[in-house]
């Protein structure tokens, strides 16, 4: 499903070249649950952005569902993001002037899905994440855990193939952390490919497969605890 071969990403900082990714080979089959761990500056966020088509590699090839996506133009990449990829961020990134429902609806709106269809899908997503009664609230009226659940609903409302979570629990307390991870894993059990970037070993070790990065390279790739 995801095939990275010899992916490099170089940045020019001053007169120094920083190799955020330095020859990464990674194969992730559909339905896998992968955690990416490593110290800051190890390239794990760059890798996630690369997987999410927010960043372009300097070299190497990236096949997503058998298609070389590095050569797509900006418009096609946006479309692929919209239809195949869901993002969950540490800072939630909810639009403050839209209600929970409208936030969840946003990717469908951008994709031009008809209103009736949108309503159905949003209602289902709200239900799945147990926030049906918060749909008409604005983000500022929601707790951190609820906000992240809205964000997860928004990331999955388009039925993507991959869910990319960047430190999804970084801004949450212990109880909300457990809850959010439960929700993400439930989605994974439903068939979604889940990739979680974290520096928290406790979170990272929950995955079926733990990838450790150092200095832009994959240092180790071993099985994790894997939830049932």
């Amino acid at each position: 499903m995801i095939e990275l071969s010899n992916i490099t990403r170089h940045f020019q900082v001053g007169d120094q070249e920083v190799r955020a990714l330095d020859g990464v080979d990674l194969h992730i089959p559909a339905g896998d649950y992968v955690s990416v761990m490593g110290p800051s500056g190890s390239g794990k966020s760059t890798l996630l952005n690369m997987l999410g088509l927010l960043d372009r590699p300097t070299g190497g090839t990236y096949l997503l569902e058998g298609r070389d996506v590095t050569t797509l133009d900006e418009h096609e990449q946006a479309q692929t993001r919209r239809e195949r990829i869901g993002f969950v961020f540490q800072a939630f990134h909810l639009v403050p002037y839209l209600t929970a429902k409208e936030n969840i609806e946003l990717p469908l709106v951008l994709g031009g899905v008809a209103p009736e269809e949108r309503q159905k899908r949003v209602a289902t997503a709200l239900e799945e994440l147990g926030i049906s009664n918060r749909g008409d609230h604005r983000p500022e009226e929601l707790s951190g855990g609820q906000r992240q659940r809205v964000a997860i609903a928004r990331a999955t409302v388009t039925h993507p193939a991959i869910l990319l979570a960047d430190e999804p629990t970084g801004n949450l307390d212990r109880r909300s952390t457990a809850d959010v991870m439960e929700r993400l894993e439930r989605l994974w059990r439903g068939g979604l490919t889940l990739i979680v970037v974290t520096h928290d070993p406790e979170i990272g070790n929950r995955a079926r497969r733990c990838v450790r990065m150092v200095d832009g390279r994959i240092e180790s790739d071993e099985p994790g605890r894997a939830p049932e």
Binding site: E74, H75, A78, E83, V95, L110, A114
Partner: protein, 399 residues
């Protein structure tokens, strides 16, 4: 993205920053209001002045002595050129295309009634005056058509002068003295009103030759010709010029057609209107800079929102369109408010001070709105492009 959703998204974003949006729109509103108000005044002035001039009809050609182009008052009187005479006027009556000819010479003199006297304008005119200047006789009759060189001492009073000299009773048949000479009143004119501050009703009309004698002048101040409705003005001008040159041996006079005068006047006033409109345009420019500033700040502040939109699958073009639409909506809302403010202000001004002529030309109003929308697009395009080109990774990191 469906059009309806797009519009909803734009308005949701605008209404979420109420104060900021309001102030931005206000900047444009003040600009548009200034343009509308100032052009209303300019256009009102234009209408007013043109109406003042055309109340005498438009088929008039004026002949003044002297070669210099002068409007109305004859500077040429004191020049070396040959004076225009009543004989010239008589000769012009036979020129093809000419319908009637009126001579004019005037000044200021004491007019004495039976028991009151008043210093006022004395107009020495020909019998064709009511026709040429579109003035009607209220009672009695106007000066009779007779040989202007030997005209009898009849006088016609303006309505205001009549009121002043004969407060109770008819003036017809009464005797008045003008500059010491005796005249018989044979008619009173209808009120005509003022023309550029000159009260036409406060004056007395006597035959030209008598006025010339009174003020001791050889020449006429002006000859006014009225030409036929179906005659081309250039034809008449050519004929009149030829006839005058034949009599004077040279072109020592100036022809001014009313049409020409109104044209020139209208052009001047158009320029004036445009100029005051441009003054208002400066404040519109300031408003545009306001939109530019606010939108630029907004792009910076909303970077993470833009990054999110990109991550959710918005294309660069969609981001560009959203921000551009926001700027355009703000400017257009400001434009509509400014139009209401400007035209309302103009109407209010006119209601409070009726002397101020006001006319809101709708073409200008529509133009103002189009300009406001255009200003929004222009002021929005730079920030919107910046928003669209934001690196989503960087944008998401901004918090």
């Amino acid at each position: 993205m469906a059009q309806r959703d797009f519009i909803r998204l734009v308005f949701a974003s605008i209404s979420s920053h109420r104060l900021r949006s309001g102030l931005t729109a206000l900047g444009i509103a003040i600009g548009i209001a200034a343009v509308v108000l100032l052009t209303s005044l300019g256009a009102g002035l234009r209408e007013f002045v043109l109406a003042e001039f055309s109340q005498f009809g438009t088929r008039i050609i004026g002949i003044n002595p002297g070669r210099t182009m002068t409007h109305g008052t004859p500077v040429g009187l004191f020049g070396s050129s040959r004076p225009i005479t009543i004989e010239d006027a008589l000769a012009l009556e036979t020129v093809p295309g000419v319908e009637s000819v009126m001579t004019y010479s005037g000044g200021n003199a004491e007019v004495e009634g039976p028991d009151r006297s008043r210093r006022t304008m004395v107009h020495g005119v020909g019998s064709a005056m009511p026709e040429v200047f579109k003035m009607a006789v209220q009672s009695g009759s106007f000066l009779p058509p007779e040989d202007p060189r030997t005209a009898r001492s009849f006088a016609v009073l303006g309505s205001k002068l009549r009121r002043e000299l004969f407060p109770d009773g008819s003036a017809l048949g009464a005797r008045v003295r003008v500059g010491g000479e005796r005249y018989r009143v044979i008619g009173v004119l209808e009120p005509k009103g003022e023309m550029l501050g000159l009260d036409l009703d406060d004056g007395i009309f006597i035959p030209t030759a008598r006025a010339q004698a009174l003020f001791n002048r050889d020449g006429l101040m002006e000859i006014d010709i009225i030409y036929g409705e179906k005659t081309a003005v250039v034809e008449v001008v050519k004929n009149v010029k030829r006839a005058m040159i034949a009599r004077h041996g040279q072109e020592d006079f100036t022809l001014t057609t009313q049409e020409q005068m109104i044209d020139v006047m209208g052009n001047i006033l158009n320029v004036l209107t445009f100029a005051v409109g441009a003054l208002g345009g400066i404040s519109l420019l300031v408003g545009a800079v306001g939109v530019l500033t606010i939108m630029t700040i907004a792009v910076g502040e909303r970077a993470s929102e833009i990054g999110l939109f990109r991550a959710l699958g918005a294309s660069q073009r969609q981001i560009l369109a959203l921000f551009l639409a926001e700027a355009t909506v703000l400017a257009s809302v400001g434009g509509v408010a400014g139009l209401a403010l400007g035209s309302g202000g103009a109407a209010l001004l006119h209601a409070l001070v009726p002397a101020v002529p006001v006319d809101t030309p709708w073409s200008y109003a529509v133009l103002a709105l189009v300009v406001a929308g255009g200003v929004g697009i222009l002021a929005g395009i730079l920030p919107a492009r910046r928003a669209a080109r934001l690196d989503p990774v960087e944008a998401l990191r901004a918090e």
